[in-house]
Amino acid sequence: MARDVSPWKAALLSLALLALLLGAWELALSGPAGPGGAAMDPEYAALLGQAAQAGGQTAMPAPSAILARLVELLADPFHRRGTNDQGIGIQIAYSLWRVAAGFGLAMVVAIPLGFLIGMSPLLNAALNPFIQVLRPVSPLAWMPLALYTIKDSSISSVFVIFICSVWPMLLNTAFGVASVRREWLNVAATLEAGSWKTAMRVILPAAAPTILTGMRISIGIAWLVIVAAEMLVGGTGIGYWVWNQWNNLSIADIVIAILLIGVVGLLLDRLLGWVAGRVAWQE
């Protein structure tokens, strides 16, 4: 059975679905009963606060309004007018910086430690209980502890990113290293390659695809978690920005943030996918 799909057809269908969705959204809001506080559940309106209760203002914007706002935001994404008015590009950059720092730190810890665990069954057995208990803990549960000990909110979010990215990398590295084929190690041994050379030239490239899989899972989780962490600690970053727009009741901004978070997440995943492609090997 031919399962091949023409990319053109798929793209066309995607576009049609998007147009349908946006069209329906636009139509629903442009109807007479659509906009305005009147259509809103009073309790919900109360929850939304003053802005909505004032009435006459659309809480849920139409796609056209969102697009206009997007153009506006992207026209000057890197502006800085005081602490509470920074461009969306700056906010994303803050988040990316925290993810990069936490993720980088996790790499520095997880890959060497994973190597040791993968090579030593004893260490593996000894550390396994810790890993099993700590791994399922939501990274946000660490936040109060981080805030208490580190006292800096930005570094605390970096720590939370570190904690959530470390496990997939650690487990994948350990697994990848432990499953390096015996025969390659034998080749290295008969060539008297030495442990450093064996680690760098045999074990690392052999385990690299598995390690990259772990890193790819980690970056995905890190990007999920940073938004929540920044909502919690505030200050800067895309998560904080979303929360801020929620307080301002700028639903358009929130929709835009969701879109941008998705796009950045996709790009991060593609980046690691590209690296994974570079280190992949086939037998």
Partner: protein, 299 residues
């Protein structure tokens, strides 16, 4: 028929010269809990000699080879190389593995260059690659040097493995059924290739094989192992067929048929009937030496 014996002069002292052994295996055994794979195994490999080990599956051939390579240790006994006890793997002993064991993330050239770089750590990367290229040329693979193992045929992969082993210029070449995964035609070509390289380099070699013709083609001596457990070397065959030998010409050589029949007979029946405790008068240090090819021509 002394011409046959001396067809390969550098192996002349290898026939009975335990003193001249480059490798001397002295009473090794390998035991796992509840299982003695083999015990009381004695043999030597003289400088420049080609020794084949033949026996049924599971009798411990790979285990013996791994012990010679230093990848495994004997439970009892010692292995001496040039008079010194072996401890661990060494560049003096190169292995051609059964499953080529190439690193799939490296090109054919870089697989060989890795070995060259291990042998000569002082060489620059470019020099190591240049030497690797020469080694690949010797096995006729210069054109495929840039390809990854996944893009090579089984025979080509094994050729890279051969080039890698020769590139470290080992004192002893160890081969564990290097051609058993190949089709008959490729196997024949590679056997002659190895034969040529070994002769050119005056290479001392130890090889495990299931293929009787392969043993006859390549070996100066063939060690026959009984079935396991508690396998031992039951008999040593001296291959007196003159060199050069070719695969095509082999079965026209006088003495080939009795030699082949003797080995086949051993594999089919005697490896089984001789298994277990050795017969009285059997000296494990000096298992009986037979020259089936010679006996026929005298008869």
């Amino acid at each position: 028929m002394s011409a046959g014996l001396e067809g390969r002069p550098r192996s002349r002292n290898g026939h009975d010269g335990r003193e001249a052994g480059m490798i001397s295996v002295e009473g090794i055994a390998r035991r796992f809990p509840g299982l003695t794979v083999f015990e009381d195994v004695w043999f030597t490999v003289a400088r420049g000699e080609f020794v084949c080990l033949v026996g049924h599956s599971g009798c411990g051939k790979t285990t013996i080879l791994n012990i010679l390579a230093g990848l495994d240790g004997a439970s009892e006994g010692v292995v001496l190389m040039e008079g010194r006890e072996l401890s661990g793997p060494s560049l003096d002993r190169a292995v051609i593995f059964q499953g080529h064991a190439l690193m799939p993330w490296l090109s054919a050239l870089d697989n060989v260059a890795f070995a060259v770089g291990c042998r000569h750590p002082r060489l620059s990367r470019a020099e190591a690659r240049a030497r690797a290229k020469v080694a690949l040329e010797k096995v006729g693979l210069a054109a495929a040097a840039g390809r990854k193992p996944a893009q090579l045929s089984g025979g080509m992969k094994q050729r890279v493995g051969i080039a890698r082993a020769f590139a470290v210029e080992p004192k002893l070449l160890l081969m564990d059924e290097p051609f058993s995964a190949l089709d008959a035609l490729t196997r024949g070509a590679l056997q002659e290739e190895v034969s040529r390289l070994v002769t050119e380099a005056g290479q001392t070699a130890f090889m495990i094989t299931h293929d009787v013709d392969e043993a006859i083609l390549l070996a100066d001596r063939i060690l026959l192992m009984t079935n396991g457990p508690q396998a031992r070397i039951a008999e040593v065959i001296e291959n007196t067929l003159p060199r050069p030998r070719t695969r095509a010409g082999l079965h026209h050589m006088p003495g080939y048929h009795p030699l082949r029949d003797h080995i086949m007979d051993f594999l089919v029946t005697r490896s089984r009937t001789l298994a277990g405790p050795p017969p009285p008068g059997h000296d494990p240090r000096r298992p009986p030496v037979v020259r089936p090819a010679l006996e026929e021509t005298h008869a």
